[in-house]
């Protein structure tokens, strides 16, 4: 039996169980997801999008799925999170596996009309929003992991910000994988910003499990006219964690999105971002940092489609790869025929700090218009020997000099983080990670104790 066939068989055996514990909107999307997933099961063709990630092998192990929705966590639902960044005063949503919790106190701090909660609650309180948006963006794309997610997902988090509403404090989602046995978990995120809305979202992925775990995460994000989204994704899981993260982002006229994706601790990570401009004068700035050592792997795969004129997109992704780690970057910008004045820049830089580390870089442009300004470039290199010696001559030991240069290398990305407190915190986390002081997330209070 092929690696993927086991999931079709499981779905056939357990579809009633899957569906009876999920809201109707999710169940209605499953037949199409099954059809799409079956196409991948039967196909022997290699997918260009998964050139650097052998997803079939990663899906081969016999993970358990928590279809009966048992609780793995002994903690109370609303325990105070260990992640709290001073000066940020964020509203916290805790995700235990696929289930979001938000305290009534935090809910009360959100502006009127904003909905933050589970799909189950959304189906009761704002059913129309869930129906209008769920699956409308992800399913247009043919992607095996998205189809698998849609096939089995039973719960999710909806964030809805109504027209003209600007949330003045960050929303922090702390997503933790809990399990005492090998587990596959499917998570779903739906973020809707109506026209003129704004949101800052910090999404932290961590794991409390000490067994092999795999999560698929599918996010659909709609950013309306003149809306602003700042998104910070921080992964601090562990070496036994495999994570497939897919986001489908649609931006309307005059909207702007700043996107930061930091992989500090992981096992195997595949981040997919599919951005699309459907209204003019929109901008998308994406930034990424990946720090990998041991046998960790990070694969960032981005596609931004300029379907209309006068839009701007940038990609700046930097990797520090040590030991036998592997980093991959594939970034593509598509500019549609008939559009004008689109601009894009792509930069991917890799620092192979270990002799056995490998970096794959594939910046791409697919342009069907004449009046464009698009550039792309990538580098793979080692630490600057002259700088290393200069630092040692001043008394900085070699190991410290290496760390400082690595930190400086990714600092070029971190300096774009517009929130001072967050920039400082992520800079500290990066430093601790490079020093090997964090095997996985120990909460932000542990960071405060170090500094």
């Amino acid at each position: 039996m092929s690696a993927l066939q086991q999931y079709i068989n499981l779905y056939h055996d357990a579809s009633e169980l899957v569906c009876e514990r999920a809201v109707d909107v999710l169940n209605m999307a499953r037949p199409e997801a099954e059809r799409q997933f079956c196409a991948f099961v039967d196909s022997t063709a290699k997918l260009e999008d998964y050139k650097y990630t052998d997803y079939k092998t990663l899906l081969a192990p016999d993970y358990g799925l928590n279809l009966r929705r048992l609780s793995f966590s002994s903690a109370s639902k609303y325990k105070k999170p260990s992640c709290s960044i001073a000066q940020m005063d964020s509203v916290v949503v805790q995700m235990e596996n696929d289930v979001p919790y938000i305290s009534s106190e935090d809910l009360a701090r959100l502006p009127k009309g904003v909905f933050v909660g589970s799909f189950s609650e959304a189906a009761i309180q704002v059913p129309q929003i869930l129906e209008n948006y769920y699956g409308k963006f992800a399913e247009k794309h043919s992607d095996p992991l998205t189809s698998l997610n849609t096939l089995f997902v039973q719960e999710g988090l909806l964030i809805f910000v109504p027209s003209g509403c600007k949330i003045d404090r960050p929303l922090q989602v702390i997503s933790t994988t809990h399990s005492n046995q090998p587990l596959m978990c499917h998570q779903r995120l739906l973020v809707i910003l109506e026209d003129g809305a704004s949101l800052t979202l910090l999404h932290c992925d961590e794991t409390a499990a000490t067994v092999d775990t795999l999560t698929t995460q599918v996010g659909e994000i709609v950013v309306g006219r003149e809306s602003e989204l700042q998104m910070f994704l921080l992964e601090e899981t562990g070496v036994q964690h495999t994570r497939f993260h897919q986001v489908y982002l649609q931006q309307d006229k005059d909207s702007s999105v700043e996107w930061f994706d930091l992989t500090l601790q992981n096992g195997y990570t595949r981040n997919t971002l599919r951005g699309c401009f459907v209204g003019e004068n929109a901008s998308l700035a994406t930034y990424g940092v990946a720090l990998a050592s041991g046998k960790q792997r990070v694969d960032n795969n981005l596609l931004v489609r300029h379907e209309v004129s006068n839009c701007r997109s940038t990609m700046l992704y930097k990797y520090v790869l040590d030991d036998q780690s592997v980093g991959a970057f594939a970034g593509k910008v598509y500019v549609a025929q008939g559009t004008v004045k689109n601009e894009s820049e792509q930069t991917n830089a890799n620092l192979c700090a270990g002799n056995d580390a490998r970096a794959y870089s594939q910046p791409m442009l697919e342009i069907y218009a004449d009046d464009v300004q698009c550039s792309h470039g990538s580098t793979v290199g080692k630490l600057d020997e002259a700088a290393l010696f200069y630092m040692q001559q001043r008394g900085i030991p070699l190991a410290e000099a290496r760390l400082m240069l690595q930190h400086a290398f990714v600092g070029e990305v971190l300096e774009h983080i517009p929130i001072e407190a967050l920039r400082q915190r992520l800079s500290i986390l990066t430093d601790l990670r490079l020093r090997g002081k964090r095997e996985k997330c120990q909460g932000c209070k542990a960071v405060d104790a170090c500094y």
């Binding site: 200069y390 630092m391 040692q392 001043r394 008394g395 900085i396 930190h407 400086a408 600092g411």
Partner: protein, 252 residues
């Protein structure tokens, strides 16, 4: 005191230093002159432990310590400093962080507690004045976007902050205009004490005028072929190196 005895060194299999003997007592400034390719920079790099150079013979004793057995960083901790001929840019590492790391590594080596943030900033403020380096340079990357003159001033500023016992100035005067040279030389002179010493590599009389060295040595083909007072330096400025080279070849 720095004592170099019969020092031989090679780079990529080619012997450059062919038996250097040189003693520099504490409190003295010595100038090293020589034609291009004679081994001046090689000697500097060997003394500070550049990994590209291999010592094949000889010894270097600094205040009783076998310098060649130490790592480059530990040599710095023992008080060896080099003002680089072409200081490297280190984008993303601010001058402040760079110097804080350097000072605290040295203090840790000598089993001293790290300098407090306020003491450290006070130290930077004081030393900056010495070479007229603006405060905004401290937040920039090391040598990032610095002009040639600013880089050289920055080298002397770092020397002032790190307070070495023995300094090597490798053509610190090259590329400096008259005013910048005066500032750098005066800064250097301010740092001279009874317990510090220096080896200055230069091609120019102006540097001799400012520094008034105790001794001048001439390096030809990897050996010190002549030593003398400051007058030897002036003679070289006037007559060039050919007469010394001829004298060396006729001796051989």
């Amino acid at each position: 005191m720095l004592e170099i005895k019969d020092l031989h060194a090679e780079v990529e299999g080619k012997e450059i230093l062919k038996g250097i003997d040189l003693t520099i007592p504490n409190g003295e400034v010595h100038v090293l002159m020589g034609p291009n390719g004679s081994g001046k920079s090689t000697l500097s790099n060997v003394l500070v432990g550049h990994p590209k150079y291999t010592v094949t013979q000889g010894s270097v004793i600094f205040n009783g310590i076998n310098l060649l057995s130490l790592s480059a960083a530990d040599r710095a901790h023992e008080g060896i400093f080099m003002s680089f001929q072409a200081p490297t840019e280190i984008p993303g590492v601010s001058m402040t962080n760079f110097l804080r790391a350097a000072i605290n590594a040295k203090r840790e080596y000598h089993k001293l507690p790290a300098l407090s943030a306020s003491d450290f900033l006070k130290l930077l403020r004081e030393k900056r004045k010495l070479v007229g380096l603006d405060a905004h340079f401290m937040n920039r990357g090391v040598n990032e976007g610095f002009s040639g003159g600013e880089r050289k001033r920055n080298e002397i500023f770092q020397m002032a902050v790190l307070e070495p016992l023995f300094s090597i100035l490798d053509e610190t005067d090259s590329g400096l205009d008259v005013d910048a040279l005066r500032i750098v030389a005066e800064g250097f002179n301010t740092l001279r004490t009874e317990s510090t010493s220096a080896l200055v590599i230069t091609h120019y009389q102006r540097m001799l005028d400012y520094l008034r060295p105790d001794r001048v040595h001439v390096l030809v083909d990897g050996r010190v072929v002549q030593s003398g007072t400051i007058d030897l330096g002036y003679e070289i400025e006037a007559r060039g190196f050919d007469w010394i080279k001829s004298a060396v070849s006729s001796d051989n």
